[in-house]
Amino acid sequence: MAGQTDMELIKDGVRLDGRKPDELREVKITAGVLDNADGSCYLEWGNNKIYAGVFGPMECHPRHKQKADRAIVQARYTMAPFSVNDRKRPGLDRRSSEISYIVSQAFEKVVMVEEFPKASIRVDMQVVEAHAGTRCAAMTAASVALADAGIPMRDMIPACASGKVNDVVVLDLNKEEDNYGQADLPLAIIPSTGEVVLLQLDGHLTPEQFEEAMDLATSGCMDLYKIMRDALDKSYGGKK
């Protein structure tokens, strides 16, 4: 968030990429794209491209991480070195570690972890091309991959960000808006209950704008939820 900028990111209610303030970028989801993984998903969200793969439930390694009464979710978010304009050094950095950690915890709320004591469910998210909003896109892909793997879940978790550019609250920031905007609020919810399982915020929002941003992100999540279900329906819905 650069905060104040002279850059005109929204003009007459139209954003640089031609979207309206409350419009998502185009999202395409395909379930079951990988052979080895128990469940997988390929997702394109605008120009973001992400693969997610799930293994498990299986014996938890290292052993000291096992929980006697439930499974743990081991999520791992990584960005390919070629996914950004400047080459990113391979491996986990502090940003990826933080995202992996909060995503793991979000999924432990919806996955029926109590069914699998001492087990681990491994969720791997690989960002191969990044244009802002990858943590939400990766989580969304991971939800579909978990469903594809047949892991018992209470619900899937759609995730979507809202933010503020040129003092206007908008849905799903693109690259320029992320770099030069005034606020970014990634949100993940459980659609069936409305509970919030992931929330981050950086930038500057007035109390009113925060309310508006929460409403917008929530409606974005609900739109996304439909796309996720349609993708699974396409793979597993059978004859209509």
């Binding site: 990988l34 052979d35 080895n36 993984a37 997988s40 120009n47 491209k49 693969y51 997610a52 793969g53 799930v54 293994f55 299986m58 390694h61 081991q74 791992r76 990584t78 390919a80 070195p81 070629f82 996914s83 950004v84 304009n85 400047d86 080459r87 391979p90 491996g91 986990l92 491994r122 791997d124 690989q126 191969v128 091309e129 990044a130 244009h131």
Partner: protein, 260 residues
Amino acid sequence: MSSDSVSNLMKGHMESLAAEGKRADGRGINEFREVKIETGMINTAEGSSMVHLGKTKVLCGIKLLIGTPYGDSPGSGTMTTSTELAPLADQSFDPGPPREASIELARVVDRGIRESRMIDFDALCIERGERVWMVYIDLHILDNGGNLFDCCTLAAAAALSNAKIPNVQHGIADEDVDLPVTCWPISCTFGRLGDTVILDPTSDEEAVMSARLTVAHDEDGNIRAAQKGMNGAFTDAEVREAVKTARKSDNVLREALKGI
């Protein structure tokens, strides 16, 4: 799925099939699986490719950055190859820093590309002794169906042939030009199943084979790199025969590469 423990029944079955010149998936012993190459799908990379070799899937991205040359070659660009065995590709791939297997893979691919002089390194010099292009080849394994060596070499070659030098972005020149590629190295990997040598092993075959041999040729039939792996051994005759077979068998990969 590859696994450290495979039943003796499976091992015996694969070995006896191989002895009759057959494979579990119906191929002959010197036959590649179906290969499919796509290029240019990653917009943030200077070059990219996705190669499917049977069930193995590898995504390769090329990045070009400006850096200083090595002291012993002030007029040449540099190249670095890395592999990411993503945990989603195989249950046995652990998250964490690269293991020996991953490093061996990256180095074998690196040698095939480097020693064939596929990239014209001298043409990557911007200012002698000061500034050169550094080529980063990053290989992302998305699905491990066996024979990562050949799939990765093919993905690297395809992505390099598709790469542009980002002159405009770095203010070097007015237009982006193709990365100078001089030849096409192709590797062929063999496995020893019982007493039979097979080409292009699947992950099931890798789990029971005792030794691995990778041979890279250029298009003129000259050998450019080789590597023997795993704790078994090949006879002298088997090695010589494998090198000859590689020269004949790599044509299907070459055709696939030309087709992109």
